[in-house]
């Protein structure tokens, strides 16, 4: 009865430059927008829309699903094969729980811009551990500093057990430096290739000696005894540098600001960066002392962000696709494990990047099989379908698979998903036609006449068909 009244109240919107702009903003800053929000926000001044969007990032919640660091039984405890099996199982379950918790978070959290940026930083500071607790810690660092200061972000990330173990800084000691962390810090996290020398890597690795964590507390500690206190030559300067000094000297180069600006541009604007826009953003970032929030705001306030060549042309990552569907149709998962399975069959599971360079993105998401899975995803999730594609087990799950004596992970074929159709219908004005619904759900312009086959009798069936198109793969 209530739903019925509201349905009557929902007005039809008229497409305008303002609705175009809000829709585009939400396709990039968030994971899409629903009909009522688009209608409402297109009447508000854009600065106010942005104010509200940034304000909504203030109240956020951290992931807390992993409660303890599950440690491998030590040698002195003489663990049996069974003990190791139990440990492997618990650890795998915790890792999966953290993955599912984040995807659920992405699918529902109100601080959507912060979550979107967390996803950006997750790809930028790509990291893998076999430890769900460490994964969660690092993810919370990304979330906390997502809109904060980049210097703080880099230092905090560098001090997480996840990164310290992943890039072997735990083994970076005075007598035998390990260069892995120093190399990736410059190549992938702060500068890009060609802006430092091999000697810079060697010397800066020495500055990070002693940056370690304690497994029992899962906390960073500076191991003075392992730290190389000798003098180092870095970027042509000589001094008794510590890790923080190295990070500051890298930040001192404008290239660092340009590098981050370009990565953000590729994520939020276009796979092909415009050098003039990137330079402007980079200079601004540098002058703003590496504050992330004003930089993001500058992107969303610029005229070029809304230009036609930057609209509806980015291929959604599998996570963006999945989260977008979850948000548009308010999908509840009877078996949350399905979320991880879907990520695997789509080709992107969070916390399992292909390597430290992160996911390459763009057209690399698309091949014959992944595209088929993507096009069938809506009918799988929204029409109570089954999952046909198993995806591949992650290479790091091999130990678990070996002990579990299975050659494959079990496939939960029945997805058991529950979209809230009543709510979805309530969002729409009565008598909405396919062009109007397509306008809300799809970002590329749809050619008139190309949707003639789509059945208009029911908005739900119409929506399922609209999101099963190649156009829906773009944002």
């Amino acid at each position: 009865m209530v739903a019925c009244l509201l349905e009557l109240k929902m007005k039809k919107m008229k497409r305008s430059d303002r609705t175009d702009a809000i829709k585009h903003l939400y396709s990039r800053a968030s994971f899409g927008i629903n009909y009522p929000d688009l209608l409402r926000l297109s009447k508000v001044n854009r600065d106010k829309v942005l104010d509200k969007m940034f304000e909504d990032t203030e109240a956020f919640t951290l992931l807390t699903v992993a409660k303890e660091n599950i440690l491998r039984p030590g040698r002195k405890d003489n663990p049996t094969e069974e003990d190791i099996k139990i440990y492997t199982k618990k650890r795998t379950e915790q890792e999966e729980a953290v993955n599912i918790a984040w995807v659920s978070h992405l699918s529902g959290d109100k601080a959507h811009l912060r979550e979107k940026l967390t996803l950006f930083w997750h790809g930028h500071f790509a990291c893998r551990t076999n430890n769900g607790y460490y994964n969660q810690q690092l993810n919370n660092v990304h979330r906390e500093h997502a809109l904060g200061n980049f210097r703080t972000m880099v230092i905090e990330v560098s001090k997480t057990p996840a990164m310290l173990s992943f890039l072997n800084n735990q083994q970076n000691k005075k007598v035998k430096p390990n260069e892995n962390f120093a190399r990736e810090l410059m190549e992938l996290f702060m500068l890009g290739r060609g802006h430092y020398t091999e000697a810079d890597i060697r010397e800066s690795a020495r500055a990070f000696t002693g940056w370690q964590f304690r497994a029992d507390t899962s906390e960073f500690f500076f191991n003075e005894r392992q730290h190389d206190k000798g003098s180092k030559v870095f970027f042509g300067k000589t001094g008794n540098f510590r890790g923080e000094d190295i990070i500051d000297m890298i930040l001192g180069k404008r290239q660092c600001a340009h590098f981050i600006a370009e990565r953000l541009y590729r994520f939020f604007v276009n796979d092909v960066p415009d050098p003039i826009h990137v330079k402007d953003l980079g200079d601004y970032f540098y002058d703003e002392n590496y504050e992330i929030k004003p930089l993001i705001r500058r992107i969303f306030s610029s005229k070029w962000f809304y230009q036609a060549n930057n609209v509806g042309n980015k291929i959604k990552s599998p996570i963006e696709l999945l989260v977008g569907l979850n948000r548009s149709f308010y999908i509840r998962y009877g078996r949350p494990g399905v979320l991880l399975q879907l990520q695997r069959s789509l080709g992107q599971a969070v916390f399992y990047p292909p390597n430290v360079a992160g996911w390459p993105g763009g057209t690399s998401w698309i091949d014959s099989s992944s595209l088929l899975v993507r096009l069938k995803l809506p009918s799988t999730l929204l029409n109570g379908g089954i999952i046909e594609s198993e995806g591949k087990p992650d290479p790091e799950d091999e130990a678990y698979l070996a002990t579990a004596r299975k050659s494959q992970t079990n496939v939960e074929r029945r997805v058991q998903t529950y979209p809230e159709w009543a709510r979805f219908r309530k969002d729409l004005p009565s008598g909405i036609n396919r062009e109007q619904l397509a306008y809300v759900l799809l970002t590329p312009n749809v050619k008139p006449g190309s949707m003639d086959n789509i059945d208009q009798s029911d908005p739900v069936q119409m929506a399922i068909q609209l999101v099963s198109t190649p156009e829906y793969q773009l944002c």
């Binding site: 663990p79 430290v356 360079a357 091949d367 014959s368 099989s369 046909e388 290479p395 190309s450």
Partner: protein
């Protein structure tokens, strides 16, 4: 998508799709196939090709070393795990070669990174976003222009088969791929497709759909003409190989097939688990090779089996082994130039921090396959010229 409620439309095959499907048996004679088998998890090479003639092997592995009497002897030093008895006959026929101590400099002991290195053929400190078979497709050779030039017999595509411009196709079952691409909504999109074939991302999506549509038909229509009478064991792995044999024997103009077998990460209770997997592997491969022999295609087929790393020489406390480095690679085929054990047995004494030192860079193996089997200059694919080996 059994309960799909998607509406149907008209079913016309656009005319521009037809030339691709018209291709068939013309290139068949002398067509060479490469089958790559990935053993995931880090197969323990020392309990696969067992150095039973070395005392060190028994000293370092008191709980898991295989007794000399059980070994299928290949020479005085090395022999096969008893679970690999199905390969004895294959070995004796001269269809099998074992390359010892294959690896790469600065080995990485994490599964995903080392697998990434093997699939992209990168250096240990380099990150590539394309796979080596994918770059072979990108090289635009005459035989690799169609998407089905490389088929992974699975339902998703590995990085190994993804190039910058071209990608292979994953086909677990040709009939269901065909069925999937003939669903009404897929057809409707294809029909609208020619209007969208621009150089942008939307154009790329349409192009991929059209190629999938077309390839699915070609693969299904070609492979259904062949009926195999060969017997295979009832395992998922053998089934993958059976599908690959069907493709090869029906004359599909595919050059590279990719299959995998998972579960080799044997940190605990290794004997049983690895034994089962090696049995699955050996029986599957032996059936596959015999099937190809019977159909007359063994001489035109080469099989290469690898794992992302071997395991440490010394066993661990749980009767298992931990991640190591260099490992053996198997090559199978009817026309091997050097069958049997290709090079000297691994040195179990001079170790690198408890691990085997590699003697053959895995990219030398790839280079050999590229130059001598797929007829493409290996430098084009591997970004550096490798001199290659002489097993073919």
């Amino acid at each position: 998508m059994r309960s799909s409620a998607l509406a149907s439309g008209a079913f016309l095959v656009p005319s521009f799709l037809k030339p691709l499907e018209a291709l068939a048996f013309d290139q068949l004679t002398g067509h060479k196939n490469l089958v790559i088998i990935q053993l995931s998890g880090g197969n323990d090479g020392l309990n696969t090709v067992v150095p039973f003639g070395m005392d060190t092997y028994y000293q370092k592995r008191p709980g898991i070393a295989l007794p000399p009497s059980d070994i299928i002897r290949l020479n005085d030093l090395q022999g096969l795990n008893p679970n690999m008895v199905a390969l004895k006959e294959i070995y004796d026929q001269g269809w099998m070669s074992v390359i010892n101590s294959v690896g790469y400099p600065n080995p990485d002991r994490s599964h995903f990174r080392s697998m990434d290195i093997w699939q992209t053929a990168s250096n240990a400190d380099e990150y590539l976003s394309t796979g080596w078979v994918g770059r072979y497709l990108d090289s635009n050779c005459q035989e690799c222009k169609d998407p089905y030039a490389a088929i992974e017999v699975d339902d998703s595509l590995s990085l190994a088969l993804k190039g910058s411009w071209k990608k292979g196709i994953a086909v677990k079952d040709p009939a269901s791929l065909f069925k999937n691409t003939r669903e009404p909504f897929f057809k409707e999109v294809i029909q609208a497709g020619d209007e969208h074939l621009h150089e942008d991302n939307l154009g790329y999506l349409y192009k991929t759909m059209i190629e999938t549509y077309s390839s699915a038909a070609y693969i299904q229509n070609t492979s259904k003409t062949y009926r195999s009478t060969a017997e295979y064991p009832q395992t998922k792995f053998a089934n993958q190989l059976k599908t690959a044999a069907k493709f090869i024997n029906s004359g599909l103009s595919t050059r590279v097939y990719y299959v995998s077998l998972s579960g080799f990460d044997t940190h605990t209770g290794q004997i049983g688990q690895q034994g089962r997997l090696l049995n699955t592997f050996s029986e599957g491969v032996a059936s596959f090779l015999k099937d190809l022999k019977a159909a007359g295609s063994l001489d035109d087929t080469l099989v290469m089996a690898f794992s992302e790393f071997g395991r440490r020489v010394e066993q661990n406390a749980s009767n298992g082994t931990d991640h190591g480095t260099a490992n053996n690679v198997f090559v199978f085929g009817g026309k091997l130039k050097k069958a049997g054990i290709y090079n000297e047995a691994p040195d179990l004494v001079n170790l690198d921090n408890g691990d085997l030192k590699y003697k053959v860079d895995f990219r030398e193996v790839y280079a050999t396959l590229l130059d001598k089997w797929l007829n493409v200059n290996n430098q084009q694919v591997l970004n550096k010229k490798y001199s290659g080996l002489s097993f073919i």
